[in-house]
């Protein structure tokens, strides 16, 4: 059931199999991630889309052991990074990987920097955490070069400024500089553009592209914005209610979506390339993750299910669909569902059609 790599010649850099994350509360346990399996190859950009609470951030945080435990319990696995299981590692071993092999870029660069320390000091600190032998002066020089590389103007002066003296876009650039400070093999960008306005978003996405070309780091891009995914990702995972519901390469996702949730997302995406009468909206509410029982989690909101017993009784597994994978019982009816959604919004929601 694994989303098998299309290109079997390169071994995956990180491969996650059957990962579960559960938050144990006093009254109920929330199953935030319910068995996800995916991998990423060196240099690849993997997009993870899904709405808030679909488990996209939690699944990557759990890989690095960044979730507070209690209440979080991570199970399943293995999560193999360069041949080693991350889930079985001690805190000390994980520390050597965090920031060095796998680095994170956070959503809000304002809060991800300590407001009372200079940006430069924080970048230099990220370098010296992993290599105590680097002198202060050397760390400073390297930080200034990094700031220069990510396009922060007059980096020498900017080095000794505080986060509040940076603009939002500059802060995110500095955040990226900090993430690539130790030449990581994998970058995890958790909604890197959500806190920024649209023009700056484009610049940051461009910068991520440049960074990837220079460092050859694989990138996991977590977002709820299909537009962002379309721009940079090679491959996409669509998550819903803690599960991967569709996994495919970028073009097929937009040309021929294979899951009714993806269809809904595409229909609700404002587009400039054609006239739309209205935006599609997925009816209902995201499920309460403390009370997901049996059957397909998307069934109550699904335009394809229409209360069929199959959807209520049995949880669909990921299975091959077109060039990718989809977790829907009625993959064969997707064509007709796509036409229905397209009819509602007044244009073909699929990019370029079938």
């Amino acid at each position: 059931m694994a989303a098998a790599p299309q290109d079997a010649t390169t071994a995956p850099l990180l491969s996650v199999s059957d990962l579960h994350v559960t938050f144990h509360g006093d009254e109920a346990s929330v199953r935030a991630v319910r068995g996800v399996t995916w991998d990423i190859r060196p240099g690849e950009v993997l997009g993870i889309v899904g709405e808030s609470g679909s488990g996209k951030s939690v699944s990557v945080s759990s890989i690095l052991g960044l979730l507070p435990s209690p209440p979080a319990v991570v199970s399943g696995g293995p999560v193999t990074f360069q041949g080693r299981d991350l889930l079985g590692m001690s805190e000390r071993e994980l520390r050597a990987i965090r920031g060095k092999e796998i680095a994170m870029i956070f959503q809000d660069p304002m809060t991800a920097f300590n407001p009372v320390q200079t940006i430069g000091r924080q970048i230099a600190e990220a370098i010296r955490v992993h290599d105590g032998s680097v002198s202060r002066a050397a760390a400073r020089d390297r930080s200034i070069r990094l700031l220069d590389m990510v396009g922060v103007p007059s980096p020498r002066a900017r080095f000794s400024q505080f986060p509040h003296e940076y603009s939002g876009g500059m802060r995110q650039r500095a955040m990226i500089a900090m993430a690539i400070a130790n030449g990581p093999k994998l970058l995890i960008a958790d909604e890197p553009t959500t806190a920024l306005d649209v023009t700056i978003q484009a610049q940051i996405l461009e910068l991520l592209e440049v960074v990837r070309e220079e460092t050859h780091a694989a990138t996991i891009l977590i977002t709820h914005d299909l537009g962002v995914i379309a721009e940079v990702a090679d491959r996409v995972l669509v998550m819903y209610a803690g599960k991967v519901v569709e996994s495919t390469t970028i073009l097929p996702l937009f040309q021929s979506p294979r899951h009714p949730y993806t269809l809904g997302l595409l229909g609700s995406l404002p587009r400039l390339d054609a006239r739309m009468d209205t935006l599609f909206s997925i009816p209902g509410q995201p499920p309460d993750m403390a009370r997901v029982t049996r059957g397909c989690a998307f069934a109550p909101r699904c335009s394809l299910s229409r209360g069929r017993a199959e959807c209520r009784e049995r949880e669909p597994e990921l299975r091959p669909a077109g060039v990718g994978w989809s977790a829907c019982h009625f993959i064969d009816e997707m064509e007709q569902a796509a036409r229905k959604v397209s009819g509602e919004v007044g244009m073909d929601i699929r990019v370029g059609g079938e």
Binding site: R95, I97, R98, G99, M104, T111, A112, T118, S160, A179
Partner: protein, 322 residues
């Protein structure tokens, strides 16, 4: 400037708008030039120093305490006489040119004893407050950062210490251990650390939830490093205020202990000890130079330190923008 932008006024509205946009861009562009970037960064520390300087009362108090400190350090040079030199020919003499603040019941120069007494008061005040703050900070950081049962144990110990009538227990401990400056420092610190511990724990609990702590963890920092780099720096400002106020309290406690005869050993001069000699009604009524100077010295020092604490609190207050 533009009173009427209606049609036919001859003013090209678009041009005006474009010009103002251009002007706006110019200022935005200016912000990024080195000229502005080059000014010294407004670090939180500089801002705090600047604000403290504006706080008159605190500034004057800081000068007073600094002078007291200098006086204590250079006591052998400043003092007009040996504080312990007994002169049986002039017992309890009123202030005069020879003895500016008179002499006590053993004929010792009161002014010199005040000056030497500052050594004891300031040493005890500073040493006790810093040891208390140090112990409180370490335990508060551990409690706030690890939480769970460690936190519970530490905080219950704090509760126990805070519920003791401290002066009585301190008296008992000093009586057992024997009075000396180091005993007093240790005993006072032992009863003052819970205050700083509570504050540090509280701040730690709030700070550890910040995104930058998670970011530090994600970049490979250990808990110890995060405490040192991120938590401690955030705790520093309230801690400074509390330490200042604790040192005032410690000075008062030392004075009380010496007054009760359990402070530093005689004949070493201390302000509380000098008050101890002035217990009788005859002294209080007829010989004010025996109790007024040490009383004023204690009150003024404690007051000045409290003012400094106030000034520091205002200076560190993030809600004040001046």
């Amino acid at each position: 400037m533009i009173r009427d932008t209606g049609p036919g006024t001859g003013i090209d509205v678009d041009a005006v708008v474009e010009a103002s946009i251009a002007a706006g861009e110019a200022t935005i562009a200016d912000l990024d030039t080195d000229e502005i970037v080059a000014r010294p960064p407004r670090s939180p520390f500089r801002i705090a120093v600047h604000r403290f300087m504006k706080h008159r009362l605190a500034l004057v108090s800081a000068l007073v305490v600094a002078l007291l400190g200098l006086m204590a350090v250079f006591a052998p040079i400043v003092a007009p006489a040996d504080p312990n030199a007994v002169d049986l020919s002039s017992l309890r003499t009123a202030p005069s040119a020879g003895h500016l603040l008179g002499t006590d019941s053993a004929g010792r120069d009161v002014l010199s004893r005040i000056i030497y007494g500052a050594r004891v008061s300031l040493t005890v005040g500073i040493a006790a407050a810093i040891s208390a703050a140090g112990l409180g900070t370490v335990l508060g950081l551990i409690a706030g950062f690890t939480r769970g049962w460690v936190d519970t144990i530490i905080m219950r110990i704090v509760d126990i210490f805070l519920s003791f009538p401290s002066l009585i227990v301190i008296l008992l401990l000093v009586a057992i251990l024997g009075p000396s400056v180091s005993t007093i420092v240790v005993v006072i610190a032992l009863f003052e650390w819970p205050t700083s511990c509570r504050i540090v724990r509280q701040m730690t609990l709030a700070l550890r939830e910040h995104d930058f702590v998670l970011a530090a963890r994600a970049s490979g920092s250990s808990n110890l490093r995060i405490m040192r780099r991120h938590i401690l720096s955030g705790v520093m400002s309230p801690l400074t205020v509390v330490t200042t106020l604790l040192s005032a309290q410690a000075i008062l406690l030392e004075a009380a202990l010496s007054f009760l005869g359990l402070g530093v050993r005689q004949p070493q001069a201390s302000w509380g000890g000098m008050l101890n000699e002035a217990q009788s009604i005859t002294v209080l009524e007829g010989l004010p130079w025996l109790w007024l100077p040490p009383g004023i010295a204690i009150a003024a020092t404690v007051l000045a330190i409290n003012f400094i604490g106030d000034g520091l609190r205002d200076a560190f207050d993030p809600r004040q923008t001046r």
